[in-house]
Symmetry: C2
Subunit: 194 residues, 2 copies
């Protein structure tokens, strides 16, 4: 802040988001504060408000940025259930890469950004190809999203009450996979395709 009022700092929305992302990786979600972000960018705290509406909007943007890493399966190949399985697994893995973000993600009830919407659309298309009508597809959509993010949240936290602390990550991933297969089996059961 060795700048007089009126001097530019060369801030951009992109630079702000990038710094936020770094801060998140370093100190978790607790370390991501407006003031810490300003410090890192060598800028007065209120300077951020020229590029971001507020902290809530900033967090939303960061979440959506992370969601861009999810691998979307090709729509034209394989069967839709396999595609759904792959998509949810990729989402799970991406979320595990940002543990502190997950509770936040869940708290604001899923990202509302462009990437999140796109993932939702892909899922709906796959469910449609799996033979589900629109209402049933939305039902299944909610269940799958909730299950995946919820599981990621639990995986990234401290152990629940299981007395074996060792192979947590792999164990949890297996559990996630088991439950996911059960859900997909239920979703695509004959009674659902009616």
């Amino acid at each position: 802040m060795d700048r007089r009022p009126g001097q530019r700092a060369g801030l951009t929305r992109e630079r702000v988001l990038a710094a936020a992302h770094e801060l998140l990786g370093a100190g978790g979600v607790d370390g991501l504060t407006m003031r810490a972000l300003a410090r890192r960018l060598e800028v007065a705290p209120n300077a951020l408000y020229s590029h971001v509406p507020g902290k809530t909007a900033l967090l939303d943007a960061v979440i959506d940025e992370v969601l861009a890493q999810v691998e979307v399966p090709a729509m034209d190949v394989a069967d839709p259930v396999t595609g759904l399985h792959a998509l949810m697994c990729s989402t799970y893995d991406v979320l595990l890469g940002h543990p502190d973000l997950v509770p936040l993600y869940l708290a604001r009830n899923g990202a509302r950004g462009a990437n999140a919407r796109h993932l939702g659309d892909v899922m709906l298309a796959l469910l449609d190809r799996a033979g589900l009508r629109e209402a049933r597809a939305r039902e299944a959509l909610s269940v799958l999203i909730v299950y995946t993010i919820g599981f990621a949240a639990f995986t990234t936290g401290p152990p629940i009450d299981v007395p074996d602390p060792e192979p947590r990550a792999e164990q949890m991933r297996e559990n996630f996979d088991s439950g996911l297969r059960w859900l997909l089996a239920g979703i695509t059961a004959p009674s659902m395709r009616a």
Copy 2:
């Protein structure tokens, strides 16, 4: 705080927790701060630290208090799967009564208090009676807990990206129920009982 140093205010851990619970019901989790709690109890902020180790511990205690409202099915009647279904539904309903608590619950990865442990034990017993071996039972336990809390978190938040805002609560509850049945079906499938 019209009290000199050394005068007692008649604070108790119970009174503190009760006030915290009220504050939570009134203003949500954002309204539940140490200082607001002290204000409500007409006490200096630091007086709370004589009855509670800190904010984290206070939140844990509040969460476990809420969990006491969950209806535990009788262990000796009905079939275990029905019992599990009822238990998860009751948990879901109780969590819906405290929307702002849910993300917190999820963030600290489930309550670690006495009530939470008891619920876990009941679930394990039911899973055992359903024919699952210990390892499989733990697997199923994680899946069911995650699913229930995760769904509660999503239900209590703003709508996800569905364009129909009306019958949210009932719709979500139906979705929860559908997914829960799928999971229970998967959990108790013949391949799991081996």
